[in-house]
């Protein structure tokens, strides 16, 4: 697999949200607007890249039996770093995303990439893989956030283009499930057409 493919595969072929269906909790919870979705995606990407790099570097020294706990410790360390960084520079975003920043620790995307890719590939490739998957995750979260924001509050990236409220349900819990369900259907339709 070429270096370029490592980065682009996360967008369509191995899109974590629409194809692999990983990391559903933050996907559904934080995409109330496009900006929120994007911040969550970028936060996860940060952890994903760094944990991928470190895990691929130390994988050879970790006994097989304790690898999962060790990966979790590495991931949790970077999540704590991320919490500090966000508290210092973007406290508003940190407040909005709230509980879901520490919960990146148990995001199956991060552990999944560590287990499926980082522990058997070189440091450079793992970093690229982290960037690619993170980018895919960020894009799909932004799209989902954008759809919910347009339908739910009649605005896009914070710019309002209709008067009054939208369909409020799309900002609330049910809309998250519905929007993601229909987006997956659209995504499947588009990709299956391409395959034919």
């Amino acid at each position: 697999m070429g270096k370029f493919q490592l980065i682009t595969k996360g967008l369509i072929k191995e899109n974590p949200t629409f194809v692999l269906l990983l990391g559903m909790c933050p996907t559904l919870a934080t995409t109330t607007s496009a900006i929120n979705g994007m911040s969550m995606g970028l936060a996860t990407t940060f952890v994903l890249i760094l944990s991928n790099i470190v895990i691929s570097a130390i994988a050879a020294y970790i006994p097989d039996k304790v690898r999962i706990p060790s990966y979790i410790v590495v991931i949790a360390t970077f999540v704590t770093v991320l919490q500090f960084v966000m508290q210092a520079y973007v406290p508003d975003v940190y407040e909005t995303l709230g509980l879901f920043i520490p919960l990146i620790v148990v995001n199956c995307i991060v552990l999944g990439r560590a287990e499926a890719f980082a522990n058997k590939n070189s440091v450079g490739d793992s970093a690229l893989d982290g960037i690619g998957i993170g980018l895919g995750f960020t894009c799909s979260l932004t799209v989902l956030g954008l759809v919910r924001e347009i339908l739910g509050s009649g605005s896009a990236f914070g710019f309002k283009f209709i008067e009054g409220d939208g369909i409020l349900a799309f900002v609330l819990a049910p809309g998250a499930f519905l929007a993601l369900g229909y987006l997956i259907v659209i995504f499947r339709k588009l990709t299956s057409k391409k395959a034919e």
């Binding site: 909790c25 979790i72 949790a76 999540v79 919960l103 620790v105 609330l172 819990a173 499930f177 259907v185």
Partner: protein, 199 residues
Amino acid sequence: MEYILIIISAIFVNNILLSQFLGICPFLGVSNKLSTASGMSMAVCFVITLATVVTYLLNSLLVKFGLEFLQTISFILVIAALVQMVEIVLKKISPALYASLGIFLPLITTNCAVLGVALTVVQKSSPFAAAANGMMNLGEATVYAFATSLGFGLAMVLFAGLREQLALNNVPKSFKGIPIALVTAGILAMAFMGFSGLV
């Protein structure tokens, strides 16, 4: 009275799956059959309650030494260790219970509901706390954790029941599997929205 409010709120109004989006992975993953869904719910109920009590006590220790920033990392380790221990103890004490919960226990470590609840109860701005400093006491935290996991079980069993019916129907090709499940969950969440304003 306070406890009743906590229970109703955690089960219906702020249902962990349908309004807080914690623990969605098992919600979508093991809700194909009613029996596995109820098994998973029982295991989660057990682990959430136990983990919350342990992490609550651990947190008071962390606060004492001013090490709150270690919450995330220490909680996840405690939860992982606890799940392992529960598995070993159950195997010895109650093989029957182990047989029914066994396969779900390892999955729970990465269930964000457990860590989510553990982190929620130690937050300073809990709406249910009776104490002045805004933190739940141990009793409230335990009740909250137990009620939350009951809410998890309720949503899980309802959803599994719906999906069992759904499996018998002819669904358009693109909707097969997860998409139709998500749309169903959306409608279920809409039904649960009817409870908002109850507390």
